[in-house]
């Protein structure tokens, strides 16, 4: 853990500028302050305004008197910026933002003893390294999901067993080449997917984590991505554009999110998804509390609510993600079912390597930092 801290300290010391000493966690939850301000991903906190049946806010407001105010953010950077600005109580931070927030001292340790439902949290997530540092918890797990391989069932009668369908030229089961018919994610983090593929197929490279690559491993991943460029007509960036490409552009396989898979299936498209033998990358979000949260009591009540109520169940249906509380799949508190959770990848936790920001310092000495991933991935897409 010390190691992880040191590694982070290098990349985030800029954020630590005006950080005050750590606030001590609450020892008891008092009366609500009347409101709670949350920075969240779009679609994460629904009050029945988008669709009537998806509502996990109204009951909370009625029972606690804490009015929920949401500020949506589209990227992890926006989230970090908003939290640095202050004035918010909670944030639903992904793995790349959460450690930055902890190292920048923008979030405070959580007293899990004040959250009665803490015990129901998935054991696999309780001490996850993206929110637990030196044994101290900095938040409650919220949702997680895999980046699956989405494919068209009319082209693949059997699920593809390997990510090679999007990485190497081959003839697909329908007898035609995959050239121009597969997609890849239009973000530098996709380098990690290539690295994970190499972990399995070229063990001699010695990759231990797709987010910690030395120069040689990194070069091999880029070479693989250059091959992929010859197969990909357009990289996907926006979930809805990708769905359109599967319908109108003749795309048959791509890395994707359960979100797109569920939506396309609900439209009756011949779509399914799988996690191939190499495993998959994924994301895991945590509800974290600002170090100067103005409404700590309401914040604690919300964290409890986020684990105990219909939120976990209904949000996992809404977003195509997995609840941090496994019981939410089966106990009927919301719309999610055991089959639904299996479809969203609940059983695939071990196969998933969760997203973290690559930094220079890593266990094997020196690794290629994220900004190089950005410039080099631009080069690869540009055909270099």
């Amino acid at each position: 853990m010390n190691h992880a801290l040191r590694r982070l300290a290098a990349c985030v010391s800029a954020l630590a500028l005006a950080a005050p000493a750590f606030a001590q966690p609450l020892t008891a939850v008092g009366a609500g302050e009347g409101e709670v301000n949350i920075v969240a991903w779009p679609g994460y906190i629904e009050r029945g305004e988008t669709m009537k049946e998806f509502d996990w806010v109204t009951k909370f407001e009625e029972s606690t008197g804490c009015i929920v105010k949401v500020k949506t953010a589209n990227t992890s950077d926006e989230m970090v910026a908003l939290m640095n600005e202050g004035g918010f109580d909670l944030v639903t931070a992904s793995g790349d933002a959460s450690l930055r927030l902890i190292a920048g001292k923008r979030v405070q340790p959580i007293n899990v003893g004040l959250i009665p439902s803490w015990g129901t949290v998935d054991d696999r997530l309780k001490n996850a390294p993206w929110h637990t540092v030196d044994g101290v918890h900095y938040g409650t797990p919220y949702m997680w999901g895999p980046n699956v391989l989405m494919y068209r069932t009319d082209v693949f009668p059997e699920p593809p067993t390997s990510w090679s369908v999007v990485f190497e030229e081959q003839t697909l089961p329908d007898g035609k080449s995959n050239k121009g018919r597969v997609q890849a994610y239009d973000g530098p983090i996709h380098v990690a997917d290539a690295a994970q593929y190499l972990m399995h197929h070229k063990p001699e490279l010695g990759i231990t984590s797709p987010y910690e690559l030395n120069a040689e491993q990194y070069a091999a991943a880029l070479d693989l991505l250059r091959v992929q460029r010859t197969l990909v007509s357009r990289y996907w960036h926006d979930a809805f554009i990708q769905m359109d490409d599967f319908k109108n552009e003749g795309v048959v396989a791509s890395g994707s999110w359960p979100f797109q898979v569920n939506l396309l299936q609900s439209e009756g498209a011949p779509i399914a998804s799988t996690i191939p033998v190499e495993g998959a990358t994924g994301w895991a979000d945590t509800t974290m509390m600002h170090v100067d949260a103005p409404n700590p009591n309401c914040a604690y009540m919300w964290m409890e609510h986020s684990l105990a109520s219909n939120l976990q169940s209904d949000l996992s249906v809404w977003f195509g993600a997995n609840p941090a509380v496994p019981a939410a799949c089966t106990d009927g508190r919301g719309m999610q079912t055991a089959e639904g959770c299996t479809k969203n990848g609940l059983d695939d936790f071990e196969k998933i390597r969760f997203w973290t920001t690559p930094v220079s310092k890593c266990p094997q000495g020196e690794c290629v930092p994220y900004y190089r991933w950005v410039s080099d991935y631009i080069g690869v897409i540009g055909g270099r």
């Binding site: 990349c11 121009g180 239009d186 552009e249 220079s360 410039s375 897409i381």
Partner: protein, 308 residues
């Protein structure tokens, strides 16, 4: 009387006696706005581009250096982005000028009454709808299984489209993932910005000059070359400034329609995010500014602003 002059009278008198003071009072707020909000932020941006990012820690080093510009101008993939964006902007501008001229000419010289209203409506109508909606609509039109492909197949010209799409740079798997598609959408979206200034310029060309040219024995082509074009040039240049600079800066269209190869705007967006490479993003932003300065200077030398 002078003893009873109220203060307001003194003020108006002072303003009347010294017109410069009035001018100063009226101009200061907009000049401050222009100076601080526009020029100031531009200079702040320029300053960022002279910083660099530390290779090891990924932190921005706030010391003067030309390292970032060296990276911008020596990395092949960055040069590709610049070349790609400038070529696209130039192609879109030339094509827009060619298409816009006859439209503007008809509207300026022949359209009357209801036709003129229809012309304005036709040109402006696309500007009233959402830019994103238009671009998404084009994505569907150009898709492999879209209406354009269907229509081309229907009239038996599928082979022609396939031949075009198999061209090395312009082609691709379908129109929607090729440079040709990006070009068509740019052309559609920016065309009104070319037509309107052109039409305004053409309207100001006196009909008597055209008649005089014809009386002196000039063929229509010669009249066009020696009379209409020079007189309408300010409009063409004004329109080309719009289409050229708008294409240089756009980052939405190439993301939705095209082959995912980056344009300048997208590169800026990518570098300033999680990457935190603000210096390189700033350096990328400076490029269109420099290009536009050169462009305006060339236009001025060509006499485009003489009529202003």
């Amino acid at each position: 009387m002078s003893a009873e002059t109220p203060a307001a009278g003194g003020l108006s008198e002072a303003l009347w006696r010294r017109p410069g003071l009035l001018l100063l009072l009226l101009l200061t707020p907009p000049l401050l706005w222009l100076g601080i909000v526009y020029i100031g932020s531009l200079l702040a941006l320029l300053a960022q581009s002279f910083f660099s990012i530390d290779e090891f820690s990924g932190l921005v080093q706030r010391e003067f250096t030309l390292k970032t510009y060296r990276e911008l101008l020596t990395t092949p993939s960055n040069l590709d982005i610049l070349l790609r964006t400038v070529s696209m902007a130039a192609a879109v501008t030339v094509a827009a000028a060619i298409i816009a001229f006859p439209v503007a000419y008809f509207a300026a010289r022949y359209a009357k009454g209801g036709w003129k209203a229809l012309f304005y409506l036709g040109v402006m109508l696309p500007l009233w709808s959402s830019y994103l909606v238009k671009v998404y609509a084009w994505k569907l039109i150009l898709a492999k299984e879209g209406i354009l492909n269907w229509a081309v197949e229907g009239i038996g010209l599928g082979w022609l489209l396939q031949a075009w799409l198999s061209l090395p740079i312009l082609g691709g798997n379908s129109l929607s993932v090729s440079y040709t598609g990006t070009f068509l959408v740019f052309l559609y979206v920016w065309l009104p910005f070319m037509i309107l200034p052109m039409q305004a310029a053409l309207e100001r060309v006196p009909g008597s000059l055209l008649e005089a040219s014809a009386d002196l024995g000039a063929a229509p082509a010669a009249t066009f070359r020696h009379v209409i074009l020079p007189l309408a040039l300010p409009g063409v240049v004004a329109g080309s400034i719009f289409t050229f600079s708008l294409t240089l800066g756009d980052y939405i269209i190439p993301q939705i329609v095209g082959s995912s190869r980056l344009f300048i705007g997208q590169a800026v967006y990518a570098h300033q995010g999680t990457a935190g490479n603000i210096p390189l993003a700033a350096a990328f932003t400076v490029v269109p500014v420099v290009i536009m300065v050169i462009y305006l200077w060339l236009a001025k030398r060509a006499g485009a602003f003489n009529a202003l």
